[in-house]
């Protein structure tokens, strides 16, 4: 079995932690409905829906721990079964690192097999959260005994994963002059991260190079295309030999980033999203960066990000020229671009109508996906404009991993105007009626039955 990771969306983590950290007696607790998914790297437990029990659900308790009514438990299990979800119990303790008490272990050991009897196809768990750690018991489908081994990920100003890397004072000295973080922990977070960069051309080459220089642990470069003459003007990591030899783009990027940063792990995936090799690589990623040139690919990346709770940074640029102009220097009409950051539980590309069914239909002339023709090297063949957006995409990744900017500066959508040279934040909000968020967020793998 691969390692287990619990993931909570941004709004659910906020709600859960605010509730659990209240000082009250008996101790606050909450439930979460959970789905799961198997990926090549993790068995994921995915939670978006937090249930805070009403006061009427509790029994009076002589001790510190909360006790709730059997009728409430049955009601909750029925709802979980109807929604094909597992059930997780959360509470909060002090202590660093936090540990399950003897009572917690006993009650978890007793309750989880009962939950499994009722809903065998989904995971169940009892988790205690601390200020900077998590502990607990998880019973995965098909398993007879619960495990205490898991990692816990949630999203706030940054993406937080427990256990945090160690930060011994000896190592802290090495980083005391670094502007982004004083300790070694942030650099270890970067070194443990696996980032998928989809599209290894104009934008993606910039992104891969900068990630390598920042010390990211592994870059999954995804592209099935080959280098050609047109890439000379769009991309930073293209040599004469690559053009002459028509190198696969992922091989060209691998050679160049390894030359710049010999310690970087760059894994080339010579496939196109959503081919199987590309999809399996995406599922392993901590963050996905999309540097693609069509809306169908964006819809695919957004779906993976929603389903498995993976942050997704999308960049796009177009250089709009006058059509049919024979001028040597045609008048450029606009150079619009965007940097969109999806944080699980936040607005997605569908919420903002950046993606709509009508726009996807237009891309295939209403003839359906089999008629999608990808256009290589379309439009944005200007290395400097690509570089602006790619650099901002890397800043978004740094924000996700280090949380360097305060909450009030967070912006999920930035619009670029190449004429003005301005990248400006735009306010976007999650659409509560978004058809994709409501059906795909934290959906994980479906439950198959005979």
């Amino acid at each position: 079995m691969s390692s287990i990771q619990i993931r909570l969306t941004r709004p659910s983590a906020k709600r859960l932690l605010e509730h659990l950290k209240q000082f009250q007696f008996p101790e606050p607790m909450a439930f979460a409905f959970a789905r799961h998914a198997k990926t090549p790297r993790h068995d994921l437990v995915l939670c978006d829906d937090i249930v805070i029990p009403p006061a009427s659900a509790f029994l009076s308790s002589a001790g510190h721990g909360a006790r709730w009514k059997g009728s409430y438990m049955i009601e909750l299990l029925n709802e979980a079964a109807a929604r094909e979800c597992g059930l997780f119990i959360f509470h909060f303790h002090g202590g660093s690192p936090v540990r399950m008490s003897g009572d917690d272990l006993a009650s978890g050991g007793e309750l989880l097999p009962k939950f499994q009897l009722i809903i065998p196809m989904r995971p169940h768990g009892s988790i205690v959260l601390g200020e900077d750690s998590a502990a607990g018991l998880i019973l995965m489908p098909g398993r007879e005994t619960p495990t205490e081994r898991f990692t816990f990920r949630f999203f706030e100003r940054r993406m937080v994963t427990y256990p945090l890397p160690e930060d011994p004072p000896r190592e802290r000295l090495r980083f005391e002059r670094q502007p982004l973080a004083r300790g070694s922990r942030v650099w270890k977070v970067l070194a443990q991260s696996k980032i998928a960069v989809v599209g290894q051309s104009g934008g993606g080459m910039h992104v891969a190079q900068q990630l390598a220089q920042l010390g990211v642990g592994e870059i999954l470069g995804i592209d099935n295309d080959h280098v050609e003459e047109g890439n000379r003007y769009a991309a930073v990591l293209v040599s004469e030999d690559d053009i002459k030899g028509k190198s696969p783009k992922v091989e060209a990027v691998r050679r160049h980033v390894v030359r710049i940063v010999p310690s970087v792990k760059y894994t080339p995936v010579a496939a196109r999203v959503p081919e199987k090799e590309a999809l399996e690589a995406l599922k392993q990623a901590d963050i996905i960066v999309g540097c693609v040139n069509n809306l169908h690919a964006r819809a695919d990346l957004q779906e993976v990000a929603l389903r498995y709770l993976i942050p997704y940074v999308d960049i796009g640029l177009s250089v709009e020229t006058e059509r049919d102009s024979s001028d040597e220097f045609p008048l450029i009409q606009a150079i619009p671009g965007n940097v969109f950051t999806f944080v699980p539980g936040g607005p997605c590309l569908w919420c903002t109508e950046f993606l709509t069914e009508e726009k996807l239909e237009k891309e295939t002339e209403s003839r359906g996906r089999p008629y999608l023709r990808t256009v290589d090297n379309a439009d944005a063949l200007v290395v400097s404009f690509n570089g602006v957006l790619a650099s901002q995409a890397v800043n978004e990744i740094l924000q996700l991993l280090t949380g360097f900017a305060p909450e009030e500066y967070l912006s999920f959508y930035k619009k670029y105007d190449g004429f003005a040279g301005v990248l400006a934040p735009w306010t976007v909000r999650r659409n509560e009626r978004c058809p994709k968020c409501s059906s795909l967020l934290a959906a994980g793998d479906p439950v198959w039955r005979s």
Partner: protein, 120 residues
């Protein structure tokens, strides 16, 4: 498609194809067929298939696990990968008439797969 038609189609497919499985995903019913036969001469000769029954769509959709080569030994035209419920499947163009009051889901699947017999 009405919910009644979807329920009927799921039952038909589970009964007709050994090892078939069903799942609900985002309001759609999915039926995974472990093995379907492709037209004679195709490589591979069999593959897994997925049927999507969506209440928002007028007819079922059929996708295949592997992109087959046609009897002429070439890649069929207008076949492309698509993500469905976290897996890659191949969607392909076909033109199959569908009257939910008249046709069965099995008829629809078998007609759609016959498209690969075309030597293109």
């Amino acid at each position: 498609m009405s919910h009644e038609t979807i329920t009927r189609c799921v039952a038909e497919l589970l009964e007709a194809y050994r090892g078939a499985q069903r799942a609900d995903d985002g309001g759609r019913a999915l039926v995974r067929l472990k093995e379907v036969g492709l037209p004679e001469g195709c490589v591979p000769a069999t593959t897994a298939a997925l049927v999507i029954l969506d209440p928002g769509q007028p007819k079922p959709r059929v996708l295949v696990r592997d992109k087959p080569r046609t009897p002429a030994g070439v890649d069929p035209r207008n076949v492309s990968p698509e993500i469905v419920a976290g897996e890659t499947w191949y969607t392909f163009s076909y033109n199959v008439a569908w009257d939910e009051n008249k046709h069965t889901a099995v008829q629809f699947v078998e007609s759609a797969l016959r498209r690969f017999a075309k030597n293109e």
